[in-house]
């Protein structure tokens, strides 16, 4: 019994030796319904893989489903073609990864956002609630109405984590603030329905929301567009019982883009803001190609899917020992965070940054526990 095993191990080692000598390590990456250019989750994974391809000299091939029913296909094809590592981006890829991994024991498999079963698999999961807490805190400090919105994509526990952290962050910064929660749907189509997400944003604005955080994949473009179209809230249009706070000095001081001043110059107008997700979406809020004028994206909750993918490819291409099971990314290892760059540094006051950084430190050292649901 021992001998064949040992022989097998030698043969496997030889095979590995030969393949690495002859051809580069091959990585297959299969995306979720949003597609690799969703400016968000999938794109972040794609960019991580491209960076890794350059850094480690590996070959990366990708598979994009053309509609939600195709998610998970392509994984088997990668395994059959003898790829060294197959990455499924998004929890919807988990069932096919688990199934394929059981058949192809020599191939390594990884899923982002879910944990597959099998010794040759690993799942990278994120503590999105921690990052969402930080952007929620910024929203709570910045809101002029005391009401902020959350637009989730598919109504599932993974997205509830974003909401839970966000709501807790808002309350930490502004205990009297209200958070409105809504989702675009209950099927995978929810990730690609910007029209409905835009209507949800309109509904939340009519309830007084002036800042909207979207964790909805490609649907997030809807609320962003609503905010860029509407630009500001006006005290006359707010529901009864909501009073505008004075405009924050920092925001008052920023030069406003022409499209804003044309519509919202009154004393009773306050700018509306969007909060992006997964990738840094701050640049999407620039309405006049000038980062110096006011930007409609307040910040973005960073979920470093690119980092997870990059590390995975690095580990496999360098032949580091395979750690099966779950890898967690949170604030402690910079797997999640908030975006601060030339587009939004003027929007967020030094005071708010101080508060965010304190909260971050307390989450990392365990003093502050962010709810997951």
């Amino acid at each position: 019994m021992k001998k064949p095993l040992a022989l097998g191990a030698v043969a496997a080692l030889l095979a590995v030796g030969i393949t690495t000598a002859q051809q580069p390590v091959r990585i297959g990456i299969a995306f979720d319904a949003g597609g690799k250019n969703d400016r968000s989750f999938n794109q972040s994974a794609f960019e991580g893989s491209q960076r890794a391809a350059k850094a480690f000299g590996v070959e990366v091939k990708d598979f994009e489903p053309s509609d939600p029913s195709q998610v998970g296909q392509g994984i088997r094809n990668f395994a059959e073609s003898g790829f060294d590592l197959v990455i499924g981006v998004g929890f919807a890829n988990e069932p096919s990864i688990t199934k394929t991994a059981a058949e192809f024991k020599d191939t390594k498999f990884a899923v982002i956002d879910s944990v597959p079963t099998g010794d040759n698999t690993v799942g990278a999961v994120f503590r999105e609630h921690e990052g969402s807490f930080l952007v929620g805190y910024i929203a709570g400090k910045t809101s002029s109405t005391g009401v902020v919105g959350f637009v989730g994509g598919m109504d599932i526990p993974l997205i509830h984590k974003f909401y839970a952290g966000y709501a807790a962050g808002v309350k930490a910064a502004c205990p009297t603030c209200k958070v409105i929660e809504a989702y675009t749907g209950t099927t995978p189509e929810a990730w690609n329905n910007p029209a409905k997400a835009k209507e949800i944003a309109a509904s939340q604005a009519s309830k007084g929301a002036d800042i909207i955080y979207a964790a909805a994949g490609a649907s997030g473009g809807g609320p962003l567009q609503y905010i860029k179209d509407t630009k500001c809230v006006n005290s006359a249009k707010l529901p009864a019982g909501i009073k505008l706070k004075p405009m924050l000095a920092g925001i008052k001081a920023i030069a406003k883009p022409a499209d804003y001043t044309a519509k919202c110059k009154g004393m009773n107008d306050r700018p509306m803001f969007f909060i992006g997700v997964d990738a840094n979406q701050n640049y999407l809020g620039d309405s006049d190609n000038n980062p110096k004028t006011m930007n409609y994206v307040l910040t973005s909750m960073l979920k470093r899917v690119d980092l997870a993918v990059y590390n995975l490819i690095g580990n496999v291409s360098k032949g580091r020992p395979w750690v099966k099971g779950m890898t967690e990314f949170g604030l402690d290892n910079s797997g999640v965070g908030y975006a601060l760059d030339q587009y939004n540094e003027a929007l967020i006051s030094a005071d708010t940054i101080k508060g965010v950084e304190q909260a971050k430190a307390r989450i990392i050292n365990g003093a502050l526990d962010v709810p997951e649901k």
Partner: protein, 308 residues
């Protein structure tokens, strides 16, 4: 509920109804002539894609000179281009199901599958990106007062209801349309060209469904996202059956679907009643109608049957 939220509810209803109504009126012409058009969903996507890409490509050279160029003709040309594309795609459906007498549902499904794949290839060609087009600056304008303004296509959609009624019930073309949908042999025996009438009807349905698509991409939003029709073509089909293939009833059905969808959005986050349950209501009513509880919905007699 205060006035402000009533206005939001009403405008959300009208915005959600627009694409349904345009597509359903398209389906109405096709099905009245006896050709099932399950391709409405796919044609909407082709219309949305064409309108967005044409608008973006047309405005690009002008924006390069002046980034805020206001070009009123861009969205008009883009919508017309989208309608043309919709007519062409519907033409494929017409040739396959009228000339080659293939199963109409299968031909329509094939177009829906094409619409899932082809946009990615075109987007890759134009934008090196498979999920969405570049944002269009010169999209369709909004007509109305601040806070209650709609795309011209919304007005056109509702204006088309009496136009469709008049066309179907008061014109020679309409009479022929109904005749070939009910009894093509009888119509042919009195000299009606069944093929020509059906071709016209199917192509017209594509033109209208594509207009619905153009509304989604450059009317309501500012770019094409893949899969952005999100099943609305199928809801339009349901509205068509619910509305018993009669224009005014179809409008009522679309408004009902639009209203419940707006209500679900409005209730979202209030924890009064779960949104998905509210959204299900129109479909439950449709099933009841189809089961004959509320009133029979009778399809044109020759629907789905190829004419020999």
């Amino acid at each position: 509920m205060d006035t402000a939220s009533m206005i939001v509810l009403l405008s959300t209803t009208l915005r959600s109804t627009t694409p349904l109504l345009l597509a359903a009126l398209g389906g109405l012409f096709s099905e009245r002539a006896g050709v099932v058009n399950v391709a409405l969903e796919g044609i909407m996507l082709f219309g949305a894609l064409t309108a967005a890409v044409v608008a973006q490509q047309l405005e690009a050279p002008f924006l390069a000179v002046d980034p805020t160029a206001d070009l009123w003709w861009v969205p008009i040309v883009a919508v017309l281009a989208g309608m043309l594309a919709g007519g062409l795609i519907a033409g494929i459906h017409a040739v396959v199901s009228i000339k080659y007498k293939a199963d109409q549902v299968i031909s329509g499904t094939a177009i829906n599958l094409l619409a899932a794949g082809v946009p990615a290839i075109l987007l890759q060609f134009f934008y090196n990106n498979t999920s969405d087009s570049k944002s269009v600056i010169n999209k369709l304008p909004l007509w109305g007062v601040e806070g209650f303004a709609f795309s011209p296509l919304t007005f056109i959609a509702f204006l088309l209801v009496p136009v469709a009624w008049y066309t179907i019930y008061r014109t020679k073309f309409g009479l022929r349309l109904r005749a070939v949908g009910e009894a093509p042999q009888a119509a042919a025996s009195v000299g009606v060209n069944v093929f020509a009438t059906r071709y016209t009807a199917v192509i017209l349905s594509g033109v209208l469904a594509a207009m619905a698509g153009a509304y989604l991409s450059i009317g309501n939003l500012d770019k094409f996202n893949r899969g952005m029709s999100a099943g609305q073509g199928f809801i339009a089909l349901a509205a068509l059956i619910f509305g018993k293939w009669i224009p005014i009833n179809v409008m009522g059905a679309c408004l009902l679907f639009g209203f419940f969808s707006a209500l679900a959005i409005r209730l979202g986050g209030d924890n009064i009643l779960p949104g998905p349950i509210v959204e299900m209501l129109p479909f439950i009513i449709t099933i009841l109608v189809l089961a004959g509880f509320i009133g029979r919905s009778r399809a044109p007699k020759a629907i789905g049957k190829p004419y020999p």
